[in-house]
Amino acid sequence: MIIRSSENGIDKSVTKSLEMVPPLARYTRNLGVPFVISWAHRLSGVLLVIFMGFHIFTLSFLATPGAYADKMKIYRLPVLAFLEWALAIPVIFHALNGGRLILYESFRCRRDDVLLKWVTGLTILYAGILAVLVLMGNQNVSPAFFWFIAVSAALTTAYGLYARIRHTHHIWSWKLQRITGAFLLVMIPAHFLFMHLSPQVAKDVSQVTLRMQSMWIKLVDVALVASALYHGGYGLNSILNDYAASKELRAVGMAAIMAAMVVAAWVGIKLIVLI
């Protein structure tokens, strides 16, 4: 009998690195590196949905600028600046791994060992670039220009996937989850990049308010909030469908997730439109 090793087809260095973490070693060895990566994708997704809720809640203080300025003072602490940077790691990992899954499932890219190397390499590169930007400080990037480039790239990516899956038998909600995923694959890392390129534009209440007066920025932010909430809500519902035993529990859970996403969308979009 040939016992398929977790090293077959997957880069040995990735396997060895994961096996150095004792709780992961058993799963890496017995069920493979992609299994561990799938759990990491799932957990990072849940973490990002929680952070998104917290982020929208924090931004809701923009309605009262004094309160927002007080909240932002806390981000000057080095520990929080570090955590803000560290959050970029699950963000870029989730985005790039989502891209890997799209390539595997919808573009027949079966060289998963190569894709995993790219996910690992680009995650490290992106986190490194952000770290440099944090240390360098304000780069004074033009918001309108930055988001024009980012939105163009995101729409191109999303359209590429849409063109690929539109004639398939898949249900519309799954297609939309994939399309928002392709859109966010560019937009969320771009959002983090923008925040680290221009910390003042992101944190100074007067600059934030000024930037959000622009119709273009409002449009970008609404698209970002709507697609992130749909994608996150679908992901949570998918986890619920995987592990909830009864149909009743699934129905109640789905209703709760939808209600939470609608409330978050209402708070977020109202803020963006009215500010």
Binding site: I3, Y27, G32, W39, I171
Partner: protein, 236 residues
């Protein structure tokens, strides 16, 4: 190379009368080329005749002896002691029943319940297509056959379903998906639309998250994730 090993088997027991489960330790000397089914039989003979386990063909063709060994679903009839010691790097093995169906006793699970998922996809020709060579056998060209030949090796051992990240609560299972796919790709059948309804439902491919554990553990070395990926690609 050692001729025999002193093995420790920690086996999950289940008593359906008291509905209690526990792990029981068995220490046994076993030759290097004994299979795990042989070791289980040896335990029955020398240590504990009440230990229940399942097997039939013992040639890796029926899939009835699937168990979870140190966290990996495997066929007990196919695993040699020396290979297990080498692969897991230990002589201590934790053996549990597969998780796709409730245990009936010890390592024996309710395979009928497990097979309910496979039966749902109707793994037979539902609606025969017209034979282009009337009066003769239905000829399938090697090129057509090549696309799904690997998937036909599936023996429904449920190792893939046990390993799947998606649990078994709402998913028909990787083996059921590829059984359906085999029929879709088989030119002798014309029931694609009917089959796709289940595959593109909430119990179908939407429960697959491409964790590829199915491909990793498959005792027949079928790249299950590739075939599920074909369904996701929507090529039918």
């Amino acid at each position: 190379m050692k001729e025999s090993y002193s093995l420790v088997f920690n086996i999950k027991r289940y008593d359906p009368e008291t509905r209690k489960s526990w792990f029981q330790e068995y220490r046994i000397e076993a030759g290097r080329i004994l299979r795990f089914t042989d070791v289980l039989r040896k335990i029955n003979k020398e240590l504990d005749p009440t230990l229940s386990w399942n097997s039939s063909c013992e040639h890796a063709q029926c899939g009835s002896c699937s168990v979870v060994i140190n966290g990996r679903p495997m066929l007990a009839c196919e695993l040699l002691v020396e290979n297990a010691v080498e692969y897991f790097g230990t002589t201590t093995f934790r053996i549990e029943p597969i998780t796709v169906a409730p245990a009936l006793r010890d390592l024996v699970v309710d395979l009928e319940k497990a097979y309910d998922r496979v039966h749902r996809i109707r793994p037979f020709v539902i609606n025969p297509s017209r034979n282009p060579n009337q009066g003769q056998e239905y000829r399938i060209s090697p090129r057509v056959m090549e696309r799904y030949l690997e998937a036909t090796r599936c023996i429904n051992c449920f190792c893939c379903a046990t390993a799947c990240i998606s649990s078994h609560k709402g998913f028909i299972g990787p083996n059921a998906v590829i059984a359906s796919l085999v029929r879709i790709m088989d030119p002798r059948e014309d029931a694609t639309e009917e089959r796709l309804k289940l595959l593109y439902s909430n119990e179908g491919v939407y429960r697959c998250h491409t964790s590829m554990a199915c491909s990793n553990v498959c005792p027949k070395n079928i790249d299950v994730a590739h075939f599920i990926g074909m369904v996701k690609d929507g090529d039918f």
